[in-house]
């Protein structure tokens, strides 16, 4: 049995969302409480390079990474599950539902010419 493509897309999306939440909380802790990288490393018994690597990007994160980083700044995640069907606008990935004519938010759009390029608009 193969892993569904859509599931893998959703997993990556989730990884990026969690990374955003954690990184923003750490930046806030740095602004408000003067937390430094070495403080985080010391509190969770890791090296500074290890912490730097985690903060750079979420590709090596596990659930423990999320817990450790938040615990180091006296914080935690607040979890709530939501069914897609209960959302006003569903967050499921569906290529066919992306209207091409909508520039902002459009994921894929042909431009022109013999060469095809792809456009991604942030925000």
């Amino acid at each position: 049995m193969s892993y569904p493509f859509e599931a893998a897309v959703f997993a990556e999306r989730n990884r990026n969302r969690v990374y955003e939440i954690v990184v923003k909380m750490i930046e806030e802790a740095a602004r408000k409480n003067g937390v430094k990288r070495k403080d985080i490393a010391a509190k969770i018994g890791r090296s500074e390079p290890q912490v730097s690597g985690w903060l750079k990007g979420p590709s090596n994160w596990t659930l423990d990474t999320v817990s450790d980083l938040l615990w180091s700044i006296d914080a935690e995640m607040d979890y709530e599950g939501v069914f897609h069907s209960d959302r006003a606008i569903q967050n499921t990935y569906n290529e066919s539902k992306v209207p091409k004519e909508r520039a902002r938010g459009a994921m894929i759009q042909e431009i022109s010419g013999d060469y095809e390029v792809q456009v991604a608009v942030h925000g």
Binding site: N16, K36, K56, I111, V117, Q118
Partner: protein
Amino acid sequence: MANWAAARCCKGSAALVGDIGHFVEGGYVNDDLIKQLVPEKSEHWELRSRKPKPSIRVLGRFALPDVFVGTRTQPRTLLGGMWSPEFEHEKLVCEQHWKAAGLPEGMCFTDNLNFEYEKYITQNASRKVKLPK
């Protein structure tokens, strides 16, 4: 051709679509996800999807603030090291696709000599995580 969503064959391409989706949704972006290549004056960028290995790169340029145009998708393993002939070739391919698509040659919204990440991605972005050592 940078048909990001076309190769629905493996977890790597799914991760790339997920990363692009995060960008499109206005999620937080730093140079781990999208990075300007040196020399900055050439205006080459790469969108990086690191896991699973081999990681994938989408080379491209910004046509406007927040508007990234990907020109070609390549596995990182095919690009060699920094300044390798393969990587430099890919930059030229990017320019070729850019030109052929009729996109503007000069970037009017940036100052090449004073690169600032936030001029390209204007919201919810910073080049690095802001945490003192």
